[in-house]
Structure formats: C-alpha cells, structure tokens
Symmetry: C2
Subunit: 121 residues, 2 copies
C-alpha cells in the first residue's frame, strides 16, 4: 500500500499520568482509542513480537505465529499502525514493521503512580 506509515496517527503528546489529575473528556477519548488497539490478545502478541526484536520485522515472519488468516493479521497491524504504535514500510515484495518507542513510553508514563514518575509535588 502507498500510505502505510503516514496514516492518521494519534498518540502524540497526550497525556499526564492518570493519577496526577483527572483526565479530560477529550484526552480520555483519544487514549481509549489507543488503548483499544492494545486491548486485544492478538495485537498484544503482534506488538510484543515486533518490539522484542532489535530490527524491523517482516510481516511474513509474523503470520506463522498465529492460527489466523492473513487478512486478519493485516487488519490487526493496520489497527496498531493507526494507533501510532507501530510504523511499517513496504520494501519490494515485503512489508516491514517496527515499534514506535515513544508511543509505548507514553502509555507507560500514563499508568505510572510513583511521585517521581507522575511529576507530583
């Protein structure tokens, strides 16, 4: 496909840790969309498989890990991409994917509860 990486993409600067202050309605909606992307066993495994490698991962290497049709995997990857959690690029016949560490780190910070992490007083 042509616009695999340049998709919508959210997960930009949002947000302060949940425990710091009540999150806004808008932030909650945006975060929920990102979290929905990871709230699925298949996508969690996909994300982990991709993240656990140092280099990019060929989609063709992901397929045999699942008892699912290829279109289904493609659909899940698209969901992860639209959530801004992974990037991907076609090179020749194959498509390669990689995680976007900043996106994961943002989620990590979101759930942090310790004073230092949340930036509380």
């Amino acid at each position: 496909m042509s616009k695999q990486t340049p998709l919508p993409v959210i997960a930009e600067e949002c947000c302060a840790p949940l425990a710091r202050e009540p999150i806004s309605k808008d932030d909650a909606a945006e975060l929920a969309r990102i979290l929905k992307a990871v709230a699925d066993p298949v996508r969690l495994r996909l994300l982990s498989l991709i993240a656990a490698r140092d280099e990019e991962t060929c989609v063709c290497d992901l397929l045999p890990e699942f008892d699912l049709s290829q279109p289904t995997i493609s659909h899940h990857l698209k969901t992860l991409r639209e959530a801004g959690l992974i990037g991907s690029e076609r090179r020749g016949t194959w498509v390669y994917s990689w995680v976007i560490p900043q996106a994961l780190d943002r989620l990590s910070a979101l759930f942090a509860t310790s004073k230092e992490d949340t930036g509380v007083r």
Copy 2:
C-alpha cells in the same frame, strides 16, 4: 453489596515488558482482559478521578461527573474492579473506591521500553 472487593481479580504478577520478549498466548489473553478495562473513555475518566485523589472516592461523587445513568457507572466500576484495578467497599449507605497502585504500575512496566525498565542486559 457483599463481595465488592473479593471479586475475581487478575492483574497479579503478569508480565514481562512487551519489548523484552514475545509475550505468551496466555499472558496476552490475561493482559488483554485488563487492558480492555481501561480501553474505554468512561472507565479511563473514572480511574483517573479515583486515582487523582489521595483518599478513597465516594461513588456518589463520581456520578455527577458523567452524563450517564447510575447503572451504567456502576457497571463500569464493576469492570474496573474485576480487572483488579480498583477496590471498593460499602460503608453505611455509600460505597467508596480506591485504586490499586500495583495494578497500574504493572501496566506501566508492561509498556516500558528503556533498557533499565525492561530489564534488558
């Protein structure tokens, strides 16, 4: 209600950071269940409202924050409780809720990508 806190509860010791090694099928399923609980705008706001306070939060104080029926809020709180993210207890007429910091910290650790946080060499 009688068994508000002692509900199922998952989110125990699970799991290693996604980026450390490919997550197992079982872990993915368990994590997805927890993440589904936070992958909703209303529950995210509920969680944040409860977490942002130092003391327990009365459910009666949460209701006016939403344009939703009382049963709906009650249902969302139950979902958060069953995911092990909050605890709650009835005291007299009112029910009070609090976050379980360990559960949030586990999610935080799950998404961490930096070497130190993920425990990578």
